[in-house]
């Protein structure tokens, strides 16, 4: 079952500083970008590395381990070594609160 999860207040996020939030038992990366908030899976699709440790610039998140880059709006990989897109989750800001649409239970 999917539902909206409150992940924090807009003011608590810093522009272009990726955060990792617990959602329904799993984790999601939340990206505050100049184009708005976006949410993706928290782990790089190439090898196990947390995007939380990576660099967000504009709408691109760079994995810290092997430098793969993804567009956080649709999750698509922008360069090698990543080939598989990140999973994306709908994300919206209402009254200064950031909400993510994600499964209620953790998924692998």
């Amino acid at each position: 079952v999917e539902t909206w999860h409150l992940v924090g207040r807009e003011a608590d996020f810093e522009l272009e500083l990726v955060e990792e939030v617990a959602v329904g038992g799993g984790t999601v990366a939340v990206h505050p970008t100049p184009a708005g908030f976006f949410a993706t899976s928290a782990i790089c699709t190439h090898e196990e590395a947390r995007l939380y440790d990576g660099l967000l610039e504009g709408v691109e998140i760079q994995c810290p381990r092997h430098l793969a880059r993804f567009d956080v709006r649709d999750g698509r990989p922008l360069c090698a070594p990543a080939e598989i897109p990140l999973r994306t989750y709908p994300c919206k800001v209402i009254d200064g609160e950031v909400w993510v649409w994600a499964p209620d239970q953790p998924s692998s």
Binding site: R50, D53, L55, E57, Q62, R65
Partner: protein, 422 residues
């Protein structure tokens, strides 16, 4: 248009795949002695050697190439004839080209010391090398590693995980001296000593002893260290025989311009470990890269140029090393920089970073830390290097100021805004 790519490492296969994907009417042939799959060589000294993966990750299989309509001439090239625009395979088959790409890679350097070719003395380059070393590590009691660079340290860590006694010899006073200043090398030293590696710095191995099989090494300081295995990890030598015979300009690599064209030849390119860019636009020096990313990007750039792009190779060199318990990343070229500014400490999540400055201009950065988070530091440094940003060394050393802020301020200086107080 016919393109022949010699070599199927990451540089050659990326170039061939890019040409096939982006070009129309391009007939690409890869000529090399080994057959696909092309695999991720960076895993060989890490998880493949450690046995946590059975096979390294395939990047392109024979089916992938067939699907892209890239032909495979499964024989090495014997000769290149630049005037007649063709090469000849060892089987005698000729291959004609409009564009030729040399992606012949490099081979491990083998110092000419007594015993260097005894059984049990190995180098690490190919999947077969890694497989043989992995098998040997399972039974070896002791290994001597010659060379304290990234490969030597990665193998040292894996060998310890197999329970081997590890003795590592480095000619310089400090580890990682080719890419990093003393504090980073010292942090690596601490880490490996804590992991039980015996380090011999400022020491060279003078002889490898054994009858048929290696038994021990002796050092210039007259130590005798027993060894069931010896790994030589003292760097690589570019494979340039074909280029030299063909009459191309060679100087520790095939000399190319910033579009990766061999000097004096509009239609001949060299990419990856074997290519020496005669003048890197960002650093003003000649440069031969040996990293996976360098090879991949040069393969892409050469393909774009062949397809008519005016692109130049201006990438900041960048390499990484994943070792159990530590991650190391390095970017840029510190040539000619005498000043390094250090920031942080190796046990914190952001690790210890060092920045090479030339007149306050960031030219290189190296970081070591417990996890991949150090990649964020290097990524920011790369952007500063690309912008030729100048920085305040004191702010750079101060972990109380976020690195992004330090480097963002530097951008203002360059755009002519208020200068930073010294």
């Amino acid at each position: 248009m016919r393109v022949v790519v010699i070599g199927s490492g990451i540089a050659g296969s990326t170039c061939a795949a890019s040409l096939a994907r982006k070009g129309s009417g391009v007939r690409v042939t890869i000529a090399c002695g080994s057959t696909p799959p092309v695999y991720d060589r960076t895993e060989l000294s890490k998880k493949f050697l450690a046995g946590t993966t059975d096979e390294p990750r395939p990047i392109y299989t024979a089916d992938d190439f067939a699907g892209m309509q890239v032909s495979l001439a499964n024989a090495p090239v014997a000769e290149i004839d630049l005037d007649r625009h063709r090469c000849v395979l060892t089987t005698g088959r000729p291959l004609e080209w409009d564009y030729l790409v040399l992606a012949t890679g490099s081979v491990p350097h083998r110092p000419s010391m007594p015993g260097a070719y005894l059984s049990g003395v190995v180098t690490l380059r190919s999947r077969n090398d890694a497989r043989a070393l992995r098998g040997a590590l399972r039974h070896a009691r002791s290994i001597v590693i010659i060379g304290g660079g990234l490969i030597g340290l990665e193998v040292a860590a894996v060998a310890r995980s197999y329970g081997c006694q590890v003795s590592l010899f480095e000619l310089q006073d400090v580890l990682l001296s080719r890419i990093a200043p003393e504090p980073i090398g010292a942090a690596a030293q601490q880490l490996h000593e804590d992991n039980g590696v015996s380090l011999y710095l400022h020491t060279s191995v003078s002889r490898i002893l054994g009858d048929e099989r290696v038994r021990a090494v002796t050092t210039d300081s007259h130590h005798l260290v027993p060894a069931d295995l010896v790994l030589i990890a003292t760097g690589t030598v570019p494979t340039v025989d074909l280029a030299t015979s063909a009459g191309l300009e060679v100087n520790d690599g095939i000399v190319v311009d910033t579009q990766l064209r061999a000097i004096g030849h509009e239609d001949v390119f060299a990419v990856g470990d074997t290519a020496r860019v005669n003048h890197h636009p960002l650093f003003g020096v000649s440069y031969r890269g040996e990293s996976w990313l360098n090879a991949l990007r040069q393969g892409e750039v050469a393909a774009n140029v062949i397809l008519g792009s005016s692109e130049e190779f201006v990438d900041v060199p960048w390499c990484w090393s994943d070792q159990p318990g530590a991650v190391i990343q390095a970017a840029g070229l510190p040539d000619g920089c005498s000043d390094w500014v250090t920031r942080g400490d190796p046990t914190s999540p952001d690790g210890l970073a060092a920045f090479a400055l030339d007149q306050r201009c960031v030219r290189a950065a190296v970081a070591i830390g417990p996890g991949p988070r150090i990649g964020r530091t290097i990524a920011l440094a790369v952007r500063a290097i690309e912008r030729a940003a100048t920085v305040d060394p004191d702010a750079l050393a101060n972990t109380g100021i976020p690195l992004r802020t330090v480097l963002a301020r530097s951008a203002q200086v360059r755009s002519g805004d208020e200068a930073i107080a010294p």
